[in-house]
Symmetry: C2
Subunit: 344 residues, 2 copies
């Protein structure tokens, strides 16, 4: 019977209102669960929505209300499992606040990051969670907040004036070094790779401070290839220096896994005549043999923290900038042992 062939099948709020015998405004109030509307009217409208199969049009709402129920997330690398877990934590909290996540990958390039940030603003996101690309200056961030775009830094810290959710890398390094020192190790190397950003510097400085406060030489820092598959073959770099390490702290678990493989290839037995500590504690740490002792940095929890920080700021845009820094935790497994005879 209803053969009024509308160009679009789209059901609008006006259709719902008419069907329920009220005005557009009232129907709008029902949707937004306003207490202003009478109980009987409410049920009538809700029923009409159901009968017509109405779907809310955020786009129209956002235009008027200047609220998009959308948050942007920019990370430097989506394939890294660590960022995947971070994203997962963010998504969970954002979703439960009834909002959605727009995700983008800066590939650690500031130019791309610039473009993406512009796109985020074009899409009218209510706020952005940013793991800044290496080389991002504080000016870039302040420029955004001055455009009154709520912003949260995650994992990489650029400016004190802007919310930040991250990890106490220095504390994590202290735990790793203390653990190795307590096993008798004195020549401990630090294996790094990847782009240089605030988290990188914090880890390196954290390692050096920890070594110094144990009275050990903090300068055995070994740079490895960025390509994951080249790490194993580069394990020899650990022993190219003057002083021969008996243990190594790794910048992350990717390096730890690569080095474990490379050390195995060189005939060393990790956990017996060489010790290895990872960083991040990805799920593989538990799966490899020997099980990897690693500093757990709880990426999912950090993502949740970042999202909560942003949601808080959305409700009160003028509150003081906050820092939420999570204490990591050393998970001791099998990859470290007492210091053994020096290796040739």
């Amino acid at each position: 019977m209803p053969s009024e062939d509308r160009k679009k099948n789209r059901v609008t709020l006006l259709d719902v209102a008419r069907h329920a015998g009220v005005s557009r405004a009232t129907a709008s109030l029902v949707i937004r669960k306003s207490p202003l509307v009478g109980a009987e009217t409410r049920t009538r409208v809700e029923e009409a929505m159901r009968e017509l199969g109405y779907v809310y049009n955020m786009g129209a709402a956002r235009l008027r209300a200047e609220r998009s129920h959308t948050v942007g997330v920019i990370v430097p690398n989506l394939t890294n499992p660590f960022f995947a877990e971070l994203l997962s934590g963010i998504e969970a909290v954002v979703d439960s606040a009834g909002m959605v996540v727009i995700v983008a990958n800066s590939g650690d390039s500031v130019e791309r990051q610039d473009r993406l940030m512009r796109r985020m603003r074009e899409h009218g996101v209510d706020g952005v969670i940013l793991c800044a690309a290496a080389g991002t200056g504080p000016g870039f961030l302040h420029q955004l907040t001055e455009h009154s775009l709520p912003l949260v830094q995650v994992l990489r810290h650029i400016s004190d004036d802007i919310d930040y959710a991250g990890v106490d890398y220095a504390g994590g390094m202290r735990q790793a070094v203390d653990h190795l020192a307590s096993l008798g190790h004195r020549a401990i190397a630090f294996a790094v790779h990847g782009p240089v950003h605030s988290a990188y510097r914090e880890r390196v400085e954290g390692f050096r401070d920890a070594m110094r406060s144990c009275g050990l030489n903090p300068d055995m820092i070994v740079r490895l290839p960025n390509q994951i598959r080249e790490i194993a073959a580069a394990a020899h770099l650990l022993f190219d220096g003057a002083k021969q390490p008996t243990a190594v702290v790794c910048f992350n678990d990717v390096i730890a896994l690569g080095l474990a493989a490379g050390l195995y290839d060189r005939g060393l037995r990790v956990g017996e005549n060489f010790s290895l500590v990872g960083f991040d504690d990805v799920t593989d740490a538990e799966a490899m043999r020997p099980r990897l002792t690693s500093v757990f940095t709880a990426p999912v929890a950090i993502g949740e923290n970042a999202a909560r920080l942003l949601l808080d700021r959305l409700t009160d845009p003028s509150c003081q900038p906050r820092r939420v820094v999570k204490e990591p935790q050393l998970h001791i497994r099998q990859s470290c042992g007492p210091v053994a005879a020096p290796v040739s």
Copy 2:
């Protein structure tokens, strides 16, 4: 007064037009790179945009043009590195088409998936890439496409009438089984876990078919715990049956890594007296020792395929449903060897 700034300071297309001495409509044409507008006018408008610091308002544009430049992606698990790579491939293609990705996590629950899909429609996404939660019926998908929502299935195949990007799991299984058979293995188990969905069934059936066509018993299917950390301890399940396997094909690399650890704990030497083939070829396959022989399923490329499929459908919504099925590739490394003396 930053909140007031937001309203007052917002530069609209009208401001740009006035500043350039043209009408709103002309300015709009310039933005959309229409050939209709004169060269001199174009540069004048572009200059005005730059001077005023104009940012495009997608929200307003979408309302009128019914195009949001947004695609939804729903995956069953964000923390799984495999899906992270998939997402990465999708994001790259979508981004280079000038659109953005809204990502959501169904947690393999059809109820959540239902909610998320509704939210996607509320946000007016132009299309959705869906890795359907286990238990999703074809009716759910058809209901969506009948609402004229462009849809692409990825990795899990529910309906033939809807675009699909995935992997030839059966072909991958054939390669894995053939490889083991050529090494002399005749008692080959298949280790599975996780929820049952189309990809699950395809892998299981692929394995069974491959075994049958080698004249081998296809029924040694061993179910392992879903929890990653429990897999290693469950390795004994492989040997609980009547027939003792000399090799195992794994449902994915997560299982392979877990079993490798568990077999090591039982004193078996993978690649020497027991053989192991993984599936997916995550980056860790290369990093573990012995290096894992695994079937590479190219998640990034599949994500790219899915995104391209969706973009094509957006430009021509009425084209025939297509299937893009990628052929996986067996990466032979060190975890398989010739059949050895039966294990006790």
